[in-house]
């Protein structure tokens, strides 16, 4: 009998071959490429880290000579506001938006500011990573615990992998950090803890118990991770895979684990501006980003998990022995997310503050 892992590998290879057949190349749609070259430029408002996004854009420029991607970083709600201010003033600058805030992108699509564009790989993008034919999540963010390998023992890693409640173990008192910052990846675990289906397991009482463990609280979530890297804190429960991966690949003494259940959600939503000054070049770029090459480039150059089915996992760390895929995923509920985001995060911030 063929071992299960080998079966998965073969399936992935077949899917990759199928994917390659649909790959976006200059030859796959010569008319679109010619029209795109005439426009010459795509102005991309990015919400993700500039270095990673520039690297991905650079890869596209290599594969599609004659088209320049101009990135401009505007994060979350700031991007929404800037885009809406510009649209209101009829200053049409942005071609492609990449917004980390799902409700903002959903709202833009609903209000008619995003052009419908069905990418060629549409059917391979799972429904939770699409907003109709308007926007697509470029990658998925998976929450976990990022720890310093010199501070957390293998036994403690095993314990923490069992459940988020393991952080309440007395041995972890004063050893970890949290962040009350309002951002998507910061909210995802709180969103799960406050899920009515988990009201007996987690809920507000669980938040209070975490705060009673006297964690260090940092206003910026990335400072939280940086302090773990430096060894100031042993681990952080405000982590997510891509944030850890970027640093680990640079040599930082950190790894991450996924307690059960593990929140995962579509992040960095891509949508073409309805008023895009360079619509053809933007469509071509969007096709590429959500196609095989774009997703592979993203996984290799940025290290996050792609959202396109059938693409072999290119993240460089997934084959390492310490790495364990999440066992039990928790899909976010966007409706409850939108309704409770502010209230839940205020409660979380107040709980941390009250425990000080």
């Amino acid at each position: 009998m063929m071992p299960f892992k080998r079966l998965i590998a073969v399936a992935a290879l077949v899917a990759a071959c199928l994917g390659s057949a649909q790959a976006q190349t200059p030859q796959s749609d010569p008319a679109l490429y010619e029209a795109a070259k005439r426009e010459g430029t795509v102005v991309w408002y990015v919400g993700g880290p500039l270095e990673g996004m520039n690297a991905i854009a650079g890869q596209f420029q290599k594969e599609f000579p004659g088209i320049k991607i101009e990135t401009m970083r505007l994060v979350g709600i700031a991007q929404y506001q800037r885009y809406m201010d510009e649209t209101g003033a009829k200053k049409y600058i942005a071609d492609l938006l990449q917004n980390t805030d799902y409700p903002s992108m959903a709202s833009l699509a609903e209000d008619g500011h995003i052009a419908a564009w069905k990418v060629p790989s549409f059917d391979r993008i799972p429904a939770q990573f699409r907003i109709k034919e308007f926007a697509y999540a470029q990658y998925a963010s998976t929450n976990g615990i990022i720890y310093n390998v010199n501070k957390v023992t293998p036994e403690e890693v095993k314990l923490l992998e069992t459940d988020w409640a393991a952080v309440l173990d007395p041995r972890f008192k004063g050893r970890f950090s949290v962040s009350p910052m309002k951002c998507g990846v910061c909210y995802a675990p709180i969103h799960m803890f406050m899920d009515p289906q988990f009201k007996d397991r987690y809920g507000p009482e669980f938040l209070k118990k975490i705060a009673a463990q006297k964690p260090a609280s940092y206003s910026e979530v990335l400072v939280t991770i940086d302090r773990v890297i430096a060894g100031e804190q042993d681990f952080t429960i405000a982590g997510w895979e891509a944030a850890g991966a970027v640093k680990m690949l640079d040599g930082a003494p950190i790894r991450w684990l996924f307690p059960r259940p593990t929140p995962e959600f579509g992040n960095s939503w891509l949508g073409i501006s309805k008023y895009a000054p360079h619509p053809n070049a933007t469509r071509l770029f969007m096709n590429w980003l959500m196609g095989d090459q774009g997703q592979i480039a993203m996984e290799k150059l940025y290290g996050s998990k792609g959202t396109l089915d059938g693409v072999p996992d290119q993240r460089p760390y997934v084959t390492e022995s310490w790495y364990h895929q999440p066992v039990q995923y928790y899909p976010v509920d966007w409706t409850r997310w939108d309704q409770n985001y502010h209230k839940d995060m205020d409660l979380w911030a107040a709980t941390i503050k009250a425990a000080k």
């Binding site: 880290p49 520039n54 003033a89 260090a216 990335l222 430096a230």
Partner: protein
């Protein structure tokens, strides 16, 4: 004659209209924004008093304001204490190597608050900060399990870092006044039997009160509106200031734009009161005039046996404010990741390689220098003429213009940036580098006005009157008497505004476009994305540029920044 007067009035009117457009219209937008109902992502078209009342009457927001004012007050007092002491030692005593000390004391000006903050996080963290690691290693042979001595993540940490940043401003404003002071009064006091300390307290310090008060006001305003250091450290230490709350209201979902605007207006009112107080305290300008028509020569105070103590005091400041943060920034910039202990394999040159080989970095470098030079020049010329007309042709209109031009200094950059965005959004300037120039001029013109006013106040009108009585025209008097005497002050404004422009972030981050990136914005983006080491490399290059630009400008103008604030006729 009549034609010239008309031309002068027309020029003044154009100037006034420009100031109102670039400095006051954005403020109008900010003030107006607080009277709208908020939506999840911005403002609706419906008018509402909810945000205004919430900010101005709720215990929550008044508490944030109180926190900001108390923090700014503590930092101002400490900065004045240290800055004036340093200025007295350099400006009025016979301490050696003044030029070196001058340069070292003003060095923190070349560090932006958030790059400095990165350095202090690396230095002052409780368990892994370089300072604690080194101190504990030294103590370990003598003490069992020594506890960390320093913790930057505390209220004291915030006060400490902010004070180090603001001391050079107090020093610069005060040392110029002290150097240019007529020492006849001091010598009279000494020959009448006054002790050196009594002379300093009763003669020297009162004579430089305008400079001390101006610097205190500036530090207080900058301290009250600073959000990075109190925000990032303060939230861990358990306190929130109004500027940080404004930042959160502006950037977190759901956005509270009207609340942010109301908070900005609140800070604006604080500054208006401060500027009014300054006006009251310095109303009788002649009390402080120390540059009259008569020449003088000064004899510095002999330190005697206190020389080493004075040098030790300055050296301690230089270690804390220069050597440690600049060293930490440099070390961080060549590290792969943050760490408390340094090993050979942690170092890399890749951040600098990336900086000098990435196209948008080079473009940002060019934009930064271009904007700094141009903003400096505009602020010198416009600031000087606004102060000159206010002081030499006092009228309601000239005083009102000077007052209005100073107001933008009061509003947190983030909120003011939004006002600028709304002002320029519908103009052809939007999306170009010129919008940044206008934003910088609006933000830094207050320094041009305030510093040139201080300089002009200390030049007695009798000098110009003598020239006019000898037959010189107003223009000739200006070129031959006023301008040469004011050259150091104008050069100081130029350098200072250039430095501030290079460091400017809060308006730039809202107004830049894909074609007009500047270094501070890129530093912020890399910091925001958690790439602190690359951000440190950009911050370090930015600092070197600032030092280079200032030294170059000083070489061209043959005037030194530290000798130019207040006034100094020796240059």
């Amino acid at each position: 004659m009549r034609g010239k007067a008309l031309l002068g009035k027309a020029l003044w009117l154009i100037l006034a209209a420009s100031v109102v457009f670039i400095a006051i219209v954005p403020l109008g937008y900010v003030i107006d924004a607080q009277f709208y109902r908020e939506t999840r992502v911005g403002l609706s078209n419906e008018r509402s008093l909810v945000a205004f009342l919430d900010v101005f009457t709720s215990a929550e927001y008044l508490g944030y304001l109180a926190n900001a004012l108390v923090l700014a007050g503590v930092v101002t007092v400490l900065s004045l204490l240290i800055g004036v002491t340093l200025a007295l030692i350099i400006g009025r005593t016979d301490i050696r190597r003044k030029r070196l000390w001058d340069t070292l004391i003003t060095l923190p000006l070349y560090l932006s608050p958030f790059t400095g903050l990165m350095a202090w996080i690396a230095l002052g963290s409780e368990k892994t900060g370089f300072v604690n690691v080194a101190l504990m290693a030294m103590l370990r042979p003598f003490v069992d399990n020594p506890t960390p001595i320093f913790n930057i993540w505390s209220y004291a940490g915030v006060v400490y870092v902010m004070t180090l940043f603001f001391c050079p401003l107090v020093y610069l404003f005060t040392v110029g006044s002290l150097r240019g002071m007529n020492t006849a009064l001091e010598e009279a006091a000494r020959t009448s039997g006054a002790t050196p300390m009594a002379t300093v307290l009763k003669i020297t310090l009162p004579l430089c009160l305008p400079s001390i008060f101006a610097s205190g006001l500036l530090v207080f305003i900058l301290g009250a509106e600073l959000y990075t250091i109190p925000g990032i450290i303060g939230s861990t230490a358990g306190f929130t200031t109004l500027p940080w709350r404004i930042f959160e209201d502006s950037t977190s979902v759901p956005v509270h734009r009207a609340h942010a605007a109301a908070g900005g207006t609140m800070l604006l009112l604080v500054t208006v009161v401060g500027v009014w107080l300054q006006g009251r305290l310095t109303r009788v300008a002649e009390r402080f005039v120390t540059v009259g028509g008569k020449g003088f020569s000064g004899r510095p105070l002999a330190l005697g046996g206190w020389r080493f103590a004075a040098a030790g005091l300055i050296a301690a400041y230089v270690i804390a404010a220069d050597i440690l943060p600049f060293g930490a920034l440099l070390v961080s910039s060549v590290m792969k990741y943050s760490a408390g202990t340094l090993t050979a394999d942690i170092f890399t040159a890749k951040h600098y390689v990336m900086f000098f080989t990435t196209q948008n970095m080079i473009a940002a470098l060019g934009n930064t220098i271009f904007l700094a030079v141009l903003t400096g020049l505009v602020c010198v010329v416009v600031g000087f003429f606004i102060s000159l007309t206010e002081l030499r042709r006092p009228s309601f209109a000239t005083k009102a213009l000077a007052f209005l031009a100073v107001l933008p200094v009061a509003v947190p950059g983030l909120v003011y940036g939004l006002g600028l965005l709304w002002t320029f959004l519908r103009t052809p300037l939007y999306g170009s580098i010129w919008i940044l120039l206008f934003a910088y001029v609006a933000k830094f013109l207050p320094y041009g006005v305030m510093v040139s006013r201080t300089g002009l106040m200390q030049i007695h009108p009798e000098l110009a009157e003598s020239a006019r009585m000898s037959g010189a025209s107003a223009g000739r008097t200006m070129l031959s008497i006023t301008m040469p005497l004011l050259k150091p002050t104008l050069a100081a404004i130029l350098f200072f505004v250039m430095l501030m422009s290079i460091k400017e972030l809060s308006a730039s981050v809202l107004l830049y476009s894909q074609n007009s990136e500047v270094l501070s914005v890129l530093t912020w983006h890399y910091m925001d994305a958690g790439d602190y080491q690359f951000a440190a490399a950009i911050g370090f290059v930015q600092t070197l540029i600032m030092i280079g630009v200032v030294f170059l400008a000083q070489a061209i103008f043959r005037v030194r920044l530290d000798r130019a604030f207040g006034r100094d006729t020796s240059a």
